[in-house]
Symmetry: D2
Subunit: 357 residues, 4 copies
């Protein structure tokens, strides 16, 4: 979502520009400290890495192989590289992070696979949009890339969530055509908190989930979770070769374990979601305001009067805006995105609302 203009950099008040501007949770720092005792086996052969795999298998109620990495871009690109040959195509929503926000990391990691962005209301792919290019590719044969992967983002880049039924419909279609399924779960916690579903329900038909930690209270930690274990063969080599294997790999596992303990990950996400709802309710009550997407997770996309946007920027709030065409005309309405983090406080939200009014 970096296609917008970042406003108020640096932010002098609460920075709503992303959930990755938040600090790490104290529980995460404490876990790193606990993991720091004595000489420990390198490159993932440590007990915390093993423990993390067990915990995620339990959480998702199925066998899985788990590979922590430091960034979501790495997790997504590595996972995709295990799902598609270089001559394959990856279908996803046209606003997906992998399309335009990762400087072609998926193309790099996959050796040049084709990412095909498809339309869909409110950030959600619809099955018909997926069926068409698969049919075209079948007709084109060698001239087109091999349809190889469906990539879903949960919660979506538009701050919405897929229901379990929608996931089943999409992953079912994918599997019927021989596609593997990747889920970008940078905000998977927000989707679980929003739907109240068991995590297992939200990954039906998914081959590999990138389970986000960084936006949700970690320093830098995501888990690549293969439910399709066969696809994980040689993944340690892929990760090593990408320079994504830490010699002190235990410090990645420790962060994610801290988030899983006592459901900290869900409590963080629930709070961020609640703050976004509070923000959406307050802002949408303003004259001239209109939500662009339903607010289902921790992001608010809203059209606001130009002077309101200007007031927020002047007050020092950080956020993104999309109104390139009239950047010089502050009285025109603009669309802005506000993101709440695990540490956003009601007071932050209320202060922004007061400014907006």
């Amino acid at each position: 979502m970096h296609a917008g203009i970042e406003v108020a950099v640096p932010a002098t008040r609460r920075n709503f520009s992303s959930d990755n501007v938040s600090p790490a949770a104290p529980e995460v720092l404490a876990a790193i400290e606990r993991a720091n005792g004595g000489a420990v086996a390198s490159y993932g052969a440590d007990t915390l890495s093993a423990e993390l795999e067990r915990r995620l298998c339990a959480l998702f109620e199925r066998p899985a192989r788990v590979f922590p990495v430091a960034t979501g871009t790495a997790g997504n690109a590595l996972a995709l590289s295990a799902l598609t040959p270089p001559f394959g195509s990856i279908f996803c929503h046209e606003d997906a992070h992998i399309v335009g926000d990762e400087c072609a990391a998926p193309e790099f990691y996959t050796g040049g696979a084709k990412i095909v962005g498809l339309p869909g209301a409110h950030g959600r792919l619809d099955p018909d949009a997926l069926a068409a290019p698969i049919a075209t590719a079948a007709r084109m044969g060698q001239h087109a890339c091999l349809p190889a992967v469906l990539s879903l983002t949960q919660a979506t880049e538009a701050g919405t969530v897929y229901t379990p039924d929608e996931i089943v419909a999409l992953t079912g279609l994918a599997r019927a055509h021989g596609l593997a399924v990747h889920m970008d779960g940078a905000r998977f916690a927000n989707a679980v908190a929003a739907t109240g579903c068991a995590p297992a329900e939200l990954v039906a038909g998914v081959d590999v989930l990138v389970f986000g930690g960084t936006k949700n209270g970690a320093i830098a930690a995501e888990a690549v979770v293969f439910f399709n274990e066969r696809l994980a063969d040689h993944f340690t080599r892929r990760r090593k070769r990408a320079g994504q294997t830490w010699s002190k790999q235990r410090f990645l596992a420790a962060q994610l374990l801290a988030l899983l303990d006592d459901d900290l990950w869900l409590r963080h996400a629930a709070r961020a979601n609640a703050m976004a709802t509070r923000l959406a309710q307050g802002l949408s009550a303003l004259p001239g305001a209109a939500l662009v997407h339903p607010v289902q997770a921790n992001e608010v996309f809203i059209r606001l009067p130009g002077r309101t946007v200007a007031s927020l920027a002047q007050a020092g709030y950080g956020f993104y805006r999309w109104d390139d065409a009239d950047a010089g005309q502050p009285h025109q309405p603009g669309i802005i995105r506000l993101v709440c983090g695990w540490d956003t406080e009601a007071a932050d939200v209320d202060a922004l609302l007061a400014t907006a009014r």
Copy 2:
């Protein structure tokens, strides 16, 4: 243009599905035979390769470095790899051959650069469509690929041509933003023949042209022509490493020289263009017919009544059609593409027109 459905395979009458179904010209075969005397230096260090470079410099009225290869896909992908870093983006028309007809060859050769398809009427990019993503990328910084290349197709995939003024406008915009310019000239001859311009006029601001021979009477020969000589540094290594350097490289040069002799390339193109015009005139006079794009080169895109399309197919003519949705409903109108080659005869055209009537 393989996204359509190929009709009548194999064609039992004239195959209008592409200009690459045509044979090689007898002059090309004769040139190969002449080139076949005695032991000759390998890998491009032969006299014919040198002669070809001289001839193309003269034709384009400027210094250039010339590298023949066997296919247009290789020429385009190799040329692009010399113009963009792996983290760059290549802007082109959304229907360009490099977007969807080469099984991601440009992504392979460039190491994963991003191809960005842009809209534009009748296959021609318009400058405004180009300016927007360049501005967005500038704002996004490291999250977006570096705008690196403008790729134009002349004649376009829609069978239209850019005028010299349009080329100057687009290449000027590209250069103002630091982009290099590539021209896919698989049908460059048709564009020259259509406009009556000097070849030099049609490459103003172009850094590298892939000058097509295969569709115009060669067996398999295209010339990658660098007008920006600095960009050609190490191109012999790129070509060798791609397995595109023939040990008997003289046989590539010989084909292209045969086409340049006595303006055979222009005579071929002029004839193909004339046949397309004849075809367009005849078909567009039919009731219910409507040209989809102006016919400026050797391709005809036309909407025809369903029963006309069906008649052509039944008669055994080869062509492409785009009417997926109603494939089972022969009475619905459909869009078809008909391509004339260097060897298409007026009798071929007239026979088809008779069938269509």
Copy 3:
């Protein structure tokens, strides 16, 4: 074998520097001319391509899938890309063409796999040299590339040949460790002619052979022959994406069919081999001469007195020499390579021998 110094460029007398300096055989040109009739289906869907596959299946007495390409570098690199993941390693003789003569084409096509050159007398790998790095890689796990491919060259870069027993020993070891087997057959014809074996015997345990035509009388044509048909899945996409699929693919098949007709390929190879033997016998009888490798195919590696080498160069014969250290000291002995082609005449050989004496 370009690591040597090419002598006498251009050669004013017979050029023995490589077998790729030879012209194409008249039968090959005639076949191209015959293939040039009328509009034909593009991209390999033609009857000659199908016929070539049938002929090679018969020749090798087993099912196979066949994909002609224009160059050996393309054939080898494409074949390897179908056998190894990007994180795999390819084991071969340290003098193999894929190690140092293709400007890293295999690395490009495979997405960065590791080529591991191993020692072996007279260009032939020995099984023990292969076993060691496989064991090391197993111990190193994710830090080392996955042992993926054994690549053999037949005839070897040293002008020797593997016997069927040697091939069985090496391919058996490879398969026992899960490696696929590639054979670089740029001079496969010479090996068949030299051993008198059935072609089938020389590919026991081989998954993919690149069957050379260019050095043996074609203009530019090699066939990638998959005996392991499963590995050929999607190979048309790999070839297309590499820009190695000709739209007029029939002209590649036609060349190879011409070589297969009436065993022309074997007659060419037998003659080249016989000329190399004649050359070796003559030269090794000179005082101070010593063969470096046994002469089993069409290449002669011989140490000669410095003044003999100098005489050959002055007389205008083309060849390679390896004596960097004493380039300025013409009286020191040097090692030279002389290659005979399908068109080398006894008179060429005898004239050179006369000069050498």
Copy 4:
């Protein structure tokens, strides 16, 4: 150095198998905690990242651009990708980490460049070994990769160090041939501590240094330091595209700043070096012991009697051994590697020595 056999996994006593088994320093953890306040700009636009760049410029007494990443493999591979085209070659010592310990990460990041391992006593390249392949490549032209990079490792993989004069000789030769120079500084601190030189002296002629933190007390942090600032253009894009840019990039900078504060990095390295010297002195006094390489940094390579090696393993010490051939013969002597970390204590060393005696 993973080609050896890792002994005693897990180690029940001090693990000398690598310096990356050590924990992070308490100062590093404290710095992370200090960096954890409030919302901070993402992706490197934070004050700590800027501060780190200033500090390293001061340390090296010249302008530089600094890019922290989490792993040495990432740092090396990214740096190399900025120095060589995909068709380039990288020359380094045959035991360098980039040759065989990174699962072909450099090949991946560079798009398939060629890594050429060269000989040299005690892990140090000698200038003559470098000159030869450059000359060969010049002669081979397009058939060989373009000589592009010299990569030095300081301290070397053999636990030795280059003197400033040796560095000047090698980098001077490289620059004379147009090669860029990369320095793998995973143990650069140990080299500075060992030589007593100013850091600036050890990077004379170096274009980019990967300044190691992880082995020296960080959790996961290395700095890619470009002294040749032009080569750093677009490096943020390379890093982002590789998934190596943390959204919370400040936590990488914080670790390295903690090491720079009060020369902690040098104190750590000096201690590790001193412990290695102590170990070497003790062990080399044993009957039958012989150092394999001079001990100049924090690694000891020593040949020991078989029963001594066996005693150390049985006692639970972690280390690597190289004696594949006689693995089943414990009474044969073996070569082992012992590495001291920033936290190795004299008591650890003395206890091992007691066991060895």
